[in-house]
Amino acid sequence: MSTRVRGGRLPLLAPAGLALTLVALPMLALLLRVEWAELPTHLSRPVVGQSLRLSAVTTSATMVVVWLLGTPLAWVLARADHRLTTWVRALVTVPLVLPPVVGGVALLMTYGRRGVVGGWLEQVTGLTVPFTTVAVVLAEIFVALPFYVITVEGAMRGLDRRYDQLAATLGAGPLRTFTRVALPMVLPGVAAGSALAWARALGEFGATITFAGSFPGRTQTAPLGVYAALEQDPQAAIALSLVMLLVAVVVLGALRSRWLP
Protein backbone atom coordinates (compact mmCIF):
# COMPACT_ATOMS: atom_id res chain seq x y z
CA MET A 1 0.00 0.00 0.00
CA SER A 2 2.68 2.43 1.02
CA THR A 3 4.76 1.48 -2.04
CA ARG A 4 1.84 2.33 -4.25
CA VAL A 5 1.47 5.70 -2.62
CA ARG A 6 5.16 6.38 -3.05
CA GLY A 7 5.08 5.26 -6.67
CA GLY A 8 2.07 7.49 -7.31
CA ARG A 9 3.88 10.47 -5.90
CA LEU A 10 6.99 10.18 -8.01
CA PRO A 11 5.60 12.03 -11.06
CA LEU A 12 4.98 14.93 -8.69
CA LEU A 13 8.19 14.62 -6.71
CA ALA A 14 10.43 14.89 -9.76
CA PRO A 15 9.17 18.30 -10.97
CA ALA A 16 8.84 19.45 -7.36
CA GLY A 17 12.48 18.62 -6.74
CA LEU A 18 13.50 20.34 -9.95
CA ALA A 19 11.57 23.44 -8.94
CA LEU A 20 13.32 23.46 -5.59
CA THR A 21 16.68 23.13 -7.32
CA LEU A 22 15.93 26.06 -9.61
CA VAL A 23 15.33 28.25 -6.59
CA ALA A 24 17.89 26.89 -4.14
CA LEU A 25 20.87 26.22 -6.39
CA PRO A 26 21.71 29.86 -7.23
CA MET A 27 21.65 30.75 -3.54
CA LEU A 28 23.88 27.78 -2.79
CA ALA A 29 26.20 28.81 -5.62
CA LEU A 30 26.50 32.25 -4.06
CA LEU A 31 27.57 30.65 -0.79
CA LEU A 32 30.08 28.43 -2.60
CA ARG A 33 31.74 31.40 -4.26
CA VAL A 34 32.33 33.30 -1.03
CA GLU A 35 35.97 33.48 -0.02
CA TRP A 36 35.22 32.99 3.64
CA ALA A 37 38.74 33.76 4.91
CA GLU A 38 38.76 37.07 3.08
CA LEU A 39 35.15 37.87 3.95
CA PRO A 40 35.90 40.43 6.69
CA THR A 41 38.16 42.33 4.30
CA HIS A 42 35.52 42.32 1.58
CA LEU A 43 32.83 43.38 4.01
CA SER A 44 34.93 46.33 5.10
CA ARG A 45 34.99 47.81 1.58
CA PRO A 46 33.31 51.22 1.56
CA VAL A 47 30.70 50.11 -0.98
CA VAL A 48 29.37 47.46 1.39
CA GLY A 49 28.79 49.59 4.48
CA GLN A 50 27.74 52.65 2.55
CA SER A 51 25.13 50.94 0.43
CA LEU A 52 23.77 48.82 3.28
CA ARG A 53 23.41 51.90 5.46
CA LEU A 54 21.58 53.72 2.67
CA SER A 55 19.32 50.73 2.11
CA ALA A 56 18.47 50.61 5.81
CA VAL A 57 17.62 54.32 5.85
CA THR A 58 15.58 54.35 2.65
CA THR A 59 13.63 51.15 3.31
CA SER A 60 12.81 52.40 6.82
CA ALA A 61 11.51 55.69 5.44
CA THR A 62 9.60 53.74 2.81
CA MET A 63 7.93 51.54 5.40
CA VAL A 64 6.85 54.53 7.49
CA VAL A 65 5.13 56.05 4.46
CA VAL A 66 3.70 52.68 3.41
CA TRP A 67 2.19 52.16 6.87
CA LEU A 68 0.80 55.67 7.24
CA LEU A 69 -0.73 55.89 3.78
CA GLY A 70 -1.13 52.28 2.69
CA THR A 71 -3.14 51.11 5.69
CA PRO A 72 -5.96 53.66 5.21
CA LEU A 73 -5.98 52.92 1.47
CA ALA A 74 -6.31 49.20 2.14
CA TRP A 75 -9.19 49.86 4.53
CA VAL A 76 -11.02 52.14 2.11
CA LEU A 77 -10.62 49.56 -0.67
CA ALA A 78 -11.73 46.73 1.62
CA ARG A 79 -14.91 48.49 2.67
CA ALA A 80 -15.88 50.55 -0.37
CA ASP A 81 -18.84 49.29 -2.38
CA HIS A 82 -18.48 51.79 -5.19
CA ARG A 83 -18.39 50.37 -8.70
CA LEU A 84 -15.08 52.16 -9.29
CA THR A 85 -13.46 50.26 -6.41
CA THR A 86 -12.52 47.37 -8.68
CA TRP A 87 -10.76 49.76 -11.02
CA VAL A 88 -8.91 51.50 -8.22
CA ARG A 89 -7.83 48.10 -6.89
CA ALA A 90 -6.57 47.14 -10.35
CA LEU A 91 -4.71 50.45 -10.61
CA VAL A 92 -2.95 49.82 -7.31
CA THR A 93 -1.82 46.39 -8.54
CA VAL A 94 -0.25 47.66 -11.77
CA PRO A 95 3.22 48.35 -10.27
CA LEU A 96 3.30 44.68 -9.23
CA VAL A 97 3.50 43.60 -12.87
CA LEU A 98 5.16 46.71 -14.33
CA PRO A 99 8.85 46.27 -15.21
CA PRO A 100 10.70 48.35 -12.60
CA VAL A 101 12.54 50.29 -15.29
CA VAL A 102 9.20 51.44 -16.67
CA GLY A 103 8.31 52.50 -13.15
CA GLY A 104 11.52 54.52 -13.05
CA VAL A 105 10.68 56.25 -16.34
CA ALA A 106 7.18 56.99 -15.05
CA LEU A 107 8.66 58.47 -11.89
CA LEU A 108 10.96 60.67 -13.99
CA MET A 109 7.92 61.87 -15.95
CA THR A 110 6.29 62.72 -12.63
CA TYR A 111 8.97 64.12 -10.35
CA GLY A 112 11.67 64.91 -12.93
CA ARG A 113 12.59 68.51 -13.70
CA ARG A 114 10.26 68.48 -16.68
CA GLY A 115 7.80 66.18 -14.94
CA VAL A 116 4.18 66.80 -14.03
CA VAL A 117 4.94 67.53 -10.40
CA GLY A 118 8.70 68.02 -10.51
CA GLY A 119 8.67 71.07 -12.80
CA TRP A 120 6.20 72.86 -10.58
CA LEU A 121 8.13 71.79 -7.47
CA GLU A 122 11.40 73.24 -8.81
CA GLN A 123 9.71 76.53 -9.74
CA VAL A 124 8.11 76.95 -6.34
CA THR A 125 10.75 75.57 -3.99
CA GLY A 126 13.88 75.31 -6.10
CA LEU A 127 14.16 71.66 -5.08
CA THR A 128 14.63 68.81 -7.50
CA VAL A 129 13.98 65.17 -6.77
CA PRO A 130 16.06 62.99 -9.14
CA PHE A 131 19.54 61.96 -7.96
CA THR A 132 18.52 62.46 -4.32
CA THR A 133 17.83 60.01 -1.52
CA VAL A 134 14.22 61.21 -1.64
CA ALA A 135 14.05 59.83 -5.18
CA VAL A 136 15.23 56.44 -3.90
CA VAL A 137 12.46 56.44 -1.30
CA LEU A 138 9.86 57.45 -3.89
CA ALA A 139 10.97 54.62 -6.16
CA GLU A 140 10.80 52.14 -3.28
CA ILE A 141 7.36 53.35 -2.26
CA PHE A 142 6.15 53.01 -5.84
CA VAL A 143 7.13 49.34 -6.03
CA ALA A 144 6.50 48.35 -2.39
CA LEU A 145 3.19 50.04 -1.57
CA PRO A 146 1.09 47.77 -3.84
CA PHE A 147 2.42 44.64 -2.12
CA TYR A 148 1.39 46.05 1.24
CA VAL A 149 -1.98 47.39 0.18
CA ILE A 150 -3.05 44.21 -1.61
CA THR A 151 -2.01 41.97 1.28
CA VAL A 152 -3.57 44.10 4.01
CA GLU A 153 -6.71 44.74 1.97
CA GLY A 154 -7.15 40.99 1.58
CA ALA A 155 -6.93 40.53 5.34
CA MET A 156 -9.32 43.42 5.93
CA ARG A 157 -11.86 42.12 3.44
CA GLY A 158 -11.77 38.82 5.28
CA LEU A 159 -12.74 40.63 8.47
CA ASP A 160 -16.43 40.08 9.31
CA ARG A 161 -18.27 43.33 8.60
CA ARG A 162 -20.48 42.71 11.59
CA TYR A 163 -17.53 43.76 13.77
CA ASP A 164 -17.62 47.18 12.11
CA GLN A 165 -21.38 47.32 12.55
CA LEU A 166 -21.22 46.37 16.21
CA ALA A 167 -18.53 48.97 16.82
CA ALA A 168 -20.77 51.56 15.15
CA THR A 169 -23.75 50.66 17.33
CA LEU A 170 -21.45 51.04 20.34
CA GLY A 171 -20.82 54.63 19.30
CA ALA A 172 -17.49 54.29 17.48
CA GLY A 173 -17.12 56.52 14.42
CA PRO A 174 -15.33 55.29 11.28
CA LEU A 175 -11.88 56.39 12.50
CA ARG A 176 -12.22 54.71 15.88
CA THR A 177 -13.62 51.56 14.29
CA PHE A 178 -10.60 51.49 11.98
CA THR A 179 -7.93 52.10 14.62
CA ARG A 180 -9.40 50.17 17.54
CA VAL A 181 -11.22 47.27 15.90
CA ALA A 182 -10.19 46.61 12.30
CA LEU A 183 -6.47 47.31 12.56
CA PRO A 184 -5.76 45.21 15.68
CA MET A 185 -7.71 42.32 14.19
CA VAL A 186 -5.69 42.24 10.95
CA LEU A 187 -2.23 42.59 12.51
CA PRO A 188 -1.02 39.29 11.02
CA GLY A 189 -1.98 40.59 7.58
CA VAL A 190 -0.20 43.86 8.31
CA ALA A 191 2.93 41.94 9.29
CA ALA A 192 2.82 39.78 6.18
CA GLY A 193 2.22 42.80 3.96
CA SER A 194 5.04 44.69 5.65
CA ALA A 195 7.46 41.82 5.11
CA LEU A 196 6.61 41.59 1.42
CA ALA A 197 6.75 45.36 0.92
CA TRP A 198 10.00 45.71 2.81
CA ALA A 199 11.62 42.87 0.88
CA ARG A 200 10.49 44.44 -2.38
CA ALA A 201 11.84 47.84 -1.34
CA LEU A 202 15.16 46.32 -0.27
CA GLY A 203 15.59 44.53 -3.59
CA GLU A 204 14.46 47.48 -5.71
CA PHE A 205 16.89 48.14 -8.56
CA GLY A 206 15.40 49.12 -11.91
CA ALA A 207 13.22 52.03 -10.87
CA THR A 208 15.95 53.34 -8.58
CA ILE A 209 18.78 53.37 -11.11
CA THR A 210 16.50 54.90 -13.74
CA PHE A 211 14.96 57.55 -11.53
CA ALA A 212 17.46 58.19 -8.74
CA GLY A 213 20.68 57.32 -10.50
CA SER A 214 23.60 55.76 -8.68
CA PHE A 215 25.87 57.69 -6.34
CA PRO A 216 27.62 56.11 -3.36
CA GLY A 217 26.04 57.07 -0.04
CA ARG A 218 23.28 59.09 -1.68
CA THR A 219 21.36 56.91 -4.11
CA GLN A 220 23.48 53.75 -4.38
CA THR A 221 21.47 51.22 -2.38
CA ALA A 222 22.66 47.68 -1.71
CA PRO A 223 21.42 46.19 -5.03
CA LEU A 224 22.98 49.07 -6.96
CA GLY A 225 26.12 48.55 -4.91
CA VAL A 226 26.22 44.90 -5.94
CA TYR A 227 25.84 45.91 -9.56
CA ALA A 228 28.50 48.61 -9.36
CA ALA A 229 31.00 46.38 -7.61
CA LEU A 230 30.42 43.30 -9.73
CA GLU A 231 33.10 44.04 -12.34
CA GLN A 232 35.86 45.73 -10.45
CA ASP A 233 35.47 43.97 -7.14
CA PRO A 234 33.39 40.82 -7.56
CA GLN A 235 34.23 39.57 -4.06
CA ALA A 236 32.83 42.75 -2.51
CA ALA A 237 29.70 42.24 -4.61
CA ILE A 238 29.42 38.65 -3.40
CA ALA A 239 29.96 39.72 0.21
CA LEU A 240 27.25 42.35 -0.14
CA SER A 241 24.92 39.81 -1.75
CA LEU A 242 25.61 37.44 1.12
CA VAL A 243 24.60 40.08 3.66
CA MET A 244 21.36 40.76 1.79
CA LEU A 245 20.59 37.05 1.57
CA LEU A 246 21.22 36.68 5.29
CA VAL A 247 19.02 39.65 6.19
CA ALA A 248 16.21 38.31 4.01
CA VAL A 249 16.39 34.86 5.58
CA VAL A 250 16.47 36.24 9.13
CA VAL A 251 13.54 38.61 8.59
CA LEU A 252 11.37 36.05 6.81
CA GLY A 253 12.24 33.43 9.39
CA ALA A 254 11.30 35.69 12.28
CA LEU A 255 8.03 36.68 10.62
CA ARG A 256 7.19 33.15 9.64
CA SER A 257 7.36 31.78 13.14
CA ARG A 258 5.26 34.62 14.46
CA TRP A 259 2.84 35.83 11.81
CA LEU A 260 2.97 34.10 8.47
CA PRO A 261 1.04 30.90 7.80
Binding site: L108, R114, P130, T210, S214, Q232
Partner: protein
Protein backbone atom coordinates in the same frame (compact mmCIF):
# COMPACT_ATOMS: atom_id res chain seq x y z
CA UNK B 1 7.28 3.69 -10.98
CA UNK B 2 6.89 2.36 -14.49
CA UNK B 3 5.96 5.75 -15.88
CA UNK B 4 9.28 7.50 -15.55
CA UNK B 5 11.31 5.38 -17.97
CA UNK B 6 8.46 5.73 -20.44
CA UNK B 7 8.64 9.48 -20.10
CA UNK B 8 12.40 9.46 -20.55
CA UNK B 9 12.05 7.18 -23.55
CA UNK B 10 9.51 9.41 -25.21
CA UNK B 11 11.61 12.51 -24.65
CA UNK B 12 14.66 10.71 -26.05
CA UNK B 13 12.67 9.78 -29.13
CA UNK B 14 11.60 13.39 -29.40
CA UNK B 15 15.19 14.55 -29.27
CA UNK B 16 16.40 12.13 -31.87
CA UNK B 17 13.59 13.18 -34.18
CA UNK B 18 14.66 16.79 -33.79
CA UNK B 19 18.28 15.88 -34.46
CA UNK B 20 17.23 13.90 -37.50
CA UNK B 21 15.33 16.87 -38.87
CA UNK B 22 18.22 19.24 -38.51
CA UNK B 23 20.49 16.65 -40.07
CA UNK B 24 18.12 16.51 -43.03
CA UNK B 25 18.25 20.28 -43.18
CA UNK B 26 22.02 20.52 -43.48
CA UNK B 27 22.47 19.41 -47.09
CA UNK B 28 19.95 21.97 -48.31
CA UNK B 29 21.88 24.65 -46.41
CA UNK B 30 25.01 23.46 -48.15
CA UNK B 31 23.25 23.61 -51.49
CA UNK B 32 22.24 27.20 -50.95
CA UNK B 33 25.83 27.96 -50.02
CA UNK B 34 26.89 26.45 -53.34
CA UNK B 35 24.43 28.56 -55.30
CA UNK B 36 26.14 31.70 -54.04
CA UNK B 37 29.00 30.45 -56.16
CA UNK B 38 31.75 31.57 -53.80
CA UNK B 39 33.07 28.10 -53.23
CA UNK B 40 33.82 28.99 -49.62
CA UNK B 41 33.18 26.48 -46.83
CA UNK B 42 29.60 26.42 -45.45
CA UNK B 43 28.74 28.75 -42.59
CA UNK B 44 26.14 27.95 -39.94
CA UNK B 45 25.35 31.63 -39.42
CA UNK B 46 27.02 34.76 -38.14
CA UNK B 47 26.70 35.96 -34.55
CA UNK B 48 28.19 39.30 -33.53
CA UNK B 49 28.33 40.44 -29.90
CA UNK B 50 29.20 44.09 -29.56
CA UNK B 51 29.34 47.10 -27.25
CA UNK B 52 26.03 48.88 -26.89
CA UNK B 53 27.34 52.11 -28.42
CA UNK B 54 27.68 50.29 -31.77
CA UNK B 55 24.02 49.28 -31.91
CA UNK B 56 22.83 51.34 -34.87
CA UNK B 57 25.93 51.28 -37.04
CA UNK B 58 26.56 47.54 -36.80
CA UNK B 59 23.01 46.87 -37.99
CA UNK B 60 23.94 48.72 -41.15
CA UNK B 61 27.24 46.86 -41.45
CA UNK B 62 25.30 43.63 -41.06
CA UNK B 63 23.20 44.68 -44.07
CA UNK B 64 26.42 44.84 -46.13
CA UNK B 65 27.16 41.24 -45.13
CA UNK B 66 23.59 40.18 -45.91
CA UNK B 67 23.89 41.80 -49.37
CA UNK B 68 26.91 39.64 -50.11
CA UNK B 69 25.50 36.47 -48.53
CA UNK B 70 21.72 36.56 -48.86
CA UNK B 71 21.12 33.16 -47.23
CA UNK B 72 23.30 33.83 -44.21
CA UNK B 73 21.59 34.01 -40.83
CA UNK B 74 23.02 37.12 -39.13
CA UNK B 75 22.41 37.73 -35.43
CA UNK B 76 23.58 40.81 -33.56
CA UNK B 77 23.46 41.27 -29.80
CA UNK B 78 24.49 44.36 -27.88
CA UNK B 79 25.42 44.88 -24.24
CA UNK B 80 27.94 46.65 -22.09
CA UNK B 81 31.42 45.57 -23.16
CA UNK B 82 32.03 43.90 -19.82
CA UNK B 83 28.86 41.88 -20.24
CA UNK B 84 29.90 40.88 -23.75
CA UNK B 85 33.21 39.62 -22.38
CA UNK B 86 31.45 37.59 -19.68
CA UNK B 87 29.08 36.11 -22.24
CA UNK B 88 31.93 35.04 -24.53
CA UNK B 89 33.97 33.62 -21.68
CA UNK B 90 30.94 31.67 -20.46
CA UNK B 91 30.60 30.06 -23.86
CA UNK B 92 28.07 32.19 -25.70
CA UNK B 93 28.09 31.14 -29.39
CA UNK B 94 29.79 34.15 -31.01
CA UNK B 95 31.86 34.53 -34.16
CA UNK B 96 32.95 38.14 -33.73
CA UNK B 97 33.11 40.52 -30.79
CA UNK B 98 33.54 44.28 -31.04
CA UNK B 99 34.35 45.94 -27.72
CA UNK B 100 34.57 49.49 -26.43
CA UNK B 101 38.16 49.76 -25.33
CA UNK B 102 41.29 47.68 -24.88
CA UNK B 103 40.48 46.87 -21.22
CA UNK B 104 37.50 44.61 -21.92
CA UNK B 105 39.41 42.95 -24.74
CA UNK B 106 42.16 42.09 -22.27
CA UNK B 107 39.63 40.13 -20.22
CA UNK B 108 38.64 37.84 -23.08
CA UNK B 109 40.03 34.33 -22.73
CA UNK B 110 43.12 34.46 -25.09
CA UNK B 111 42.48 30.87 -26.23
CA UNK B 112 39.24 31.96 -27.85
CA UNK B 113 40.73 34.71 -29.99
CA UNK B 114 41.74 33.77 -33.58
CA UNK B 115 44.38 36.04 -35.09
CA UNK B 116 45.16 39.56 -34.00
CA UNK B 117 42.38 41.90 -32.92
CA UNK B 118 42.00 44.99 -35.08
CA UNK B 119 40.82 48.44 -34.06
CA UNK B 120 37.90 49.23 -36.38
CA UNK B 121 36.81 52.59 -34.95
CA UNK B 122 37.45 55.16 -32.28
CA UNK B 123 35.07 57.26 -30.28
CA UNK B 124 35.57 60.62 -28.57
CA UNK B 125 34.17 61.64 -25.20
CA UNK B 126 32.20 64.89 -25.40
CA UNK B 127 30.43 67.21 -23.01
CA UNK B 128 26.76 67.33 -23.82
CA UNK B 129 23.82 69.41 -22.54
CA UNK B 130 20.05 69.24 -23.07
CA UNK B 131 18.71 70.89 -26.22
CA UNK B 132 15.63 70.76 -28.37
CA UNK B 133 13.90 72.28 -31.39
CA UNK B 134 12.51 75.13 -29.29
CA UNK B 135 15.43 75.11 -26.84
CA UNK B 136 18.69 76.28 -28.39
CA UNK B 137 20.58 74.91 -25.41
CA UNK B 138 20.81 77.94 -23.21
CA UNK B 139 21.02 75.83 -20.08
CA UNK B 140 23.33 76.56 -17.18
CA UNK B 141 26.29 74.83 -18.84
CA UNK B 142 27.80 76.52 -21.90
CA UNK B 143 31.47 75.86 -21.23
CA UNK B 144 33.64 73.46 -19.27
CA UNK B 145 34.17 76.02 -16.50
CA UNK B 146 30.43 75.94 -15.73
CA UNK B 147 30.75 72.35 -14.52
CA UNK B 148 32.38 73.44 -11.28
CA UNK B 149 29.57 75.84 -10.38
CA UNK B 150 27.28 75.11 -7.46
CA UNK B 151 24.05 73.29 -8.22
CA UNK B 152 25.19 72.00 -11.59
CA UNK B 153 24.26 68.38 -12.02
CA UNK B 154 26.71 66.37 -14.06
CA UNK B 155 26.12 62.71 -14.87
CA UNK B 156 28.86 60.34 -15.98
CA UNK B 157 29.20 56.61 -16.50
CA UNK B 158 30.17 54.45 -13.56
CA UNK B 159 33.97 54.16 -13.25
CA UNK B 160 33.90 50.49 -14.25
CA UNK B 161 32.44 51.29 -17.69
CA UNK B 162 34.72 52.50 -20.54
CA UNK B 163 32.90 55.84 -20.73
CA UNK B 164 33.34 56.21 -16.97
CA UNK B 165 37.08 55.64 -17.18
CA UNK B 166 37.25 58.09 -20.04
CA UNK B 167 35.27 60.66 -18.01
CA UNK B 168 37.69 60.37 -15.10
CA UNK B 169 40.63 60.92 -17.44
CA UNK B 170 38.96 63.87 -19.16
CA UNK B 171 38.01 65.65 -15.93
CA UNK B 172 41.55 65.16 -14.66
CA UNK B 173 42.99 66.54 -17.91
CA UNK B 174 40.67 69.54 -17.71
CA UNK B 175 41.54 70.11 -14.06
CA UNK B 176 37.95 70.43 -12.89
CA UNK B 177 36.38 68.50 -9.99
CA UNK B 178 32.63 68.94 -10.39
CA UNK B 179 30.02 67.44 -8.13
CA UNK B 180 28.76 64.23 -9.75
CA UNK B 181 25.01 63.70 -9.51
CA UNK B 182 25.05 60.08 -10.55
CA UNK B 183 27.23 57.29 -11.89
CA UNK B 184 25.03 55.78 -14.59
CA UNK B 185 25.43 52.15 -15.68
CA UNK B 186 26.38 52.99 -19.27
CA UNK B 187 26.69 55.77 -21.83
CA UNK B 188 23.11 55.39 -23.08
CA UNK B 189 21.67 55.78 -19.56
CA UNK B 190 23.89 58.81 -19.05
CA UNK B 191 22.65 60.33 -22.28
CA UNK B 192 19.01 59.66 -21.32
CA UNK B 193 19.39 61.70 -18.13
CA UNK B 194 20.66 64.62 -20.24
CA UNK B 195 17.98 64.16 -22.91
CA UNK B 196 15.26 64.27 -20.25
CA UNK B 197 16.76 67.42 -18.77
CA UNK B 198 17.23 65.79 -15.40
CA UNK B 199 20.94 66.43 -15.64
CA UNK B 200 22.47 69.74 -16.69
CA UNK B 201 25.34 68.04 -18.46
CA UNK B 202 26.76 64.62 -19.22
CA UNK B 203 29.94 63.09 -20.52
CA UNK B 204 29.11 60.65 -23.32
CA UNK B 205 30.51 59.40 -26.62
CA UNK B 206 30.17 61.60 -29.67
CA UNK B 207 28.28 58.83 -31.45
CA UNK B 208 25.64 58.91 -28.74
CA UNK B 209 25.13 62.65 -29.28
CA UNK B 210 24.54 62.07 -33.00
CA UNK B 211 22.10 59.27 -32.22
CA UNK B 212 20.14 61.55 -29.88
CA UNK B 213 18.84 63.38 -32.94
CA UNK B 214 19.00 66.95 -31.73
CA UNK B 215 17.70 66.42 -28.21
CA UNK B 216 21.17 67.15 -26.83
CA UNK B 217 23.91 69.52 -27.91
CA UNK B 218 27.68 69.17 -27.74
CA UNK B 219 29.58 71.82 -25.78
CA UNK B 220 33.05 72.39 -27.31
CA UNK B 221 35.97 71.34 -25.15
CA UNK B 222 39.23 73.31 -24.96
CA UNK B 223 41.84 72.56 -27.61
CA UNK B 224 43.78 69.40 -26.88
CA UNK B 225 41.41 68.01 -24.29
CA UNK B 226 40.40 64.88 -26.10
CA UNK B 227 39.89 61.41 -24.70
CA UNK B 228 39.25 58.74 -27.25
CA UNK B 229 38.47 55.10 -27.01
CA UNK B 230 39.42 52.34 -29.41
CA UNK B 231 36.93 49.73 -30.58
CA UNK B 232 38.86 46.51 -31.10
CA UNK B 233 37.33 43.67 -33.07
CA UNK B 234 38.26 40.05 -32.30
CA UNK B 235 37.32 36.91 -34.17
CA UNK B 236 36.39 34.16 -31.74
CA UNK B 237 35.32 31.27 -34.02
CA UNK B 238 36.50 29.38 -37.05
CA UNK B 239 33.34 30.07 -39.00
CA UNK B 240 34.05 31.70 -42.38
CA UNK B 241 31.28 34.22 -41.76
CA UNK B 242 33.54 35.94 -39.22
CA UNK B 243 35.92 36.90 -42.03
CA UNK B 244 32.99 38.14 -44.13
CA UNK B 245 32.04 40.49 -41.31
CA UNK B 246 35.61 41.79 -40.94
CA UNK B 247 35.71 42.39 -44.67
CA UNK B 248 32.46 44.36 -44.51
CA UNK B 249 33.40 46.59 -41.58
CA UNK B 250 36.85 47.43 -42.96
CA UNK B 251 35.53 48.00 -46.49
CA UNK B 252 35.08 51.47 -47.96
CA UNK B 253 31.32 51.25 -47.34
CA UNK B 254 31.80 50.04 -43.79
CA UNK B 255 34.20 52.87 -42.93
CA UNK B 256 31.79 55.41 -44.41
CA UNK B 257 28.96 54.06 -42.22
CA UNK B 258 31.16 54.33 -39.12
CA UNK B 259 32.20 57.89 -39.99
CA UNK B 260 28.56 58.90 -40.58
CA UNK B 261 27.67 57.61 -37.12
CA UNK B 262 30.33 59.84 -35.57
CA UNK B 263 33.10 57.31 -35.08
CA UNK B 264 36.70 58.17 -35.77
CA UNK B 265 38.65 55.92 -38.13
CA UNK B 266 42.09 54.49 -37.22
Amino acid sequence: MSRLPALLLSSTVGLSVAVGLSACGLPSGGTSGDTSGTGTPASDGLTVLAAASLTDVLEEVADLVRAEHPDLQVDLAFAASSTVVQQVDQGAPADVVVLAGPEPLAMVDPDLVRGDPVVVATNTLVLTVPAGPDDPGTGPVTAVEDLARDGIRLVVCRPEAPCGRAAETLLADLGVAPRIASYEPDARATLTKVELGEADAGLVWRTDVLAADGRVREVPLPEGAEVTNDYPLAVVSVDPAAAWFVEAITSEDGRRLLADAGFGLP
